[in-house]
Symmetry: C2
């Protein structure tokens, strides 16, 4: 399984991905699911992946290999929309190639989030479905998720708006990951995160949050204790509840 979140906010973009993959419950490994393309001062394109690992790795490798060619590639397409269409086309290409010789009913599909900014345009964020079509984040719906999205969705639904500042948005994302990791073993540390400030047109290094990271560990402790206190402080039910 996988859990990825990307946010499209007034101040910029936030991306967080887990790194656990599994092929059966006894075949668990760590693979990065967040990838960065771009040219400083001109464009940043961030990809996050879920689904079949062979497919998503092939897609990312082909997108990288083709950066130098004349064909449309992630460093020369004019818009984020075109970048997303290119990623979707590459997914279909890989599935067509690998599906031919495949026995059985292995699911080769994968999903991508594609976000970033190209000079002259606003930041943008898309989600590519396994079928290859895609949707765009808007001010009304400023976040998109991939994979095991339900456990961590309530905290985003409740607290994330287009005008939320990047720091609070990142804290919200980390709490969302904490809830998901606690409830689903197939989502796991380390986390890869990347925060992009609108119009900076730099390629952020991002940050890998490991199990031992003191900040994330502190957030998890405080959040758990705070929720427990909050629950304890709720008023007692009235008599008609018959407790």
């Amino acid at each position: 399984m996988t859990y990825c979140v990307a946010m499209h906010l007034a101040e910029g973009l936030v991306f967080v991905s887990d790194s656990r993959t599994n092929a059966g419950i006894d075949h668990i490994a760590t693979f990065r699911k967040l990838f960065t393309f771009g040219v400083t001062g001109e464009r940043l394109i961030v990809l996050q992946t879920a689904g079949n690992l062979a497919t998503s790795q092939s897609v990312v490798n082909l997108l990288k290999q083709r950066l130098d060619g004349q064909q449309p590639n992630l460093h020369n397409v004019p818009t984020l929309y075109d970048a997303t269409a290119l990623v979707a086309e590459t997914i279909r290409e890989v599935i067509a190639r690998d599906g031919v010789s495949l026995a059985g009913n292995t699911d080769l599909t994968c999903s991508f989030l594609v976000g970033g900014q190209i000079a002259g345009s606003l930041p943008d964020l898309y989600s590519i479905y396994p079928q290859g079509n895609f949707i765009q984040a808007t001010e009304d719906t400023p976040f998109l998720q991939l994979g095991e999205s339900k456990y961590g969705k309530p905290i985003l639904d409740r607290n994330l708006e287009f005008d939320t500042d990047l720091e609070e948005a990142l804290r919200c994302a980390l709490v969302s990951f904490d809830s998901t990791i606690r409830s689903n073993l197939s989502v796991g540390m380390p986390l890869d995160l990347l925060v992009y400030h609108r119009d900076s047109l730099i390629i952020p290094a991002g940050y890998r949050v490991t199990e031992e990271d003191p900040y994330f560990a502190g957030i998890r402790r405080r959040w758990a204790a705070g929720l427990h206190d909050l629950l304890g402080e709720l008023p007692s039910p009235p008599v008609e509840y018959n407790v």
Copy 2:
């Protein structure tokens, strides 16, 4: 869709169910999903249902109609285990009856939670799978869910233990429902709840929480505000997070 929670705790049992059913997104209705059987001073058996409404209603009706007969029924089976096996058998009977003449691939299956206490035994709680087999709640895993379980599971995972008192457990269940109702339109008010104090062997009337219920509305407001404050109070990320 449906969301039901039942808890098996040191002090007794807590049951909460939503009441929304849908056959397609444009065919939404309200049906009770929590049913009570029993004899004051001797036994209480509570059923909660999810899945095909025709099947689950037929099962509950047959279980009620058969209470007067000589055959094993919910008022004469000696244990909660046997009560659960009887419910499972009745599910299979209804599916076998209705499935014969059914064209297409309509899913007739349903799931039940069965909890209660019979004089001379401890309280007990089971979950019947759509396949008809069933599992039992234990001190390690004191709650069971039906239906749309993921949105509301983190708060239960974090805060519910076998020794949690009934009042705090009920508050925890209500918060779990609040999160689920916010994130999934197919889970909806009113809620039916029932709290059973261990060894009381009474048949609680239960309580229906409507949209206008001032206590639940207050809980929802306070919880939302409390979460927002808690998120705001979390420390800022260190410099290496590059926010």
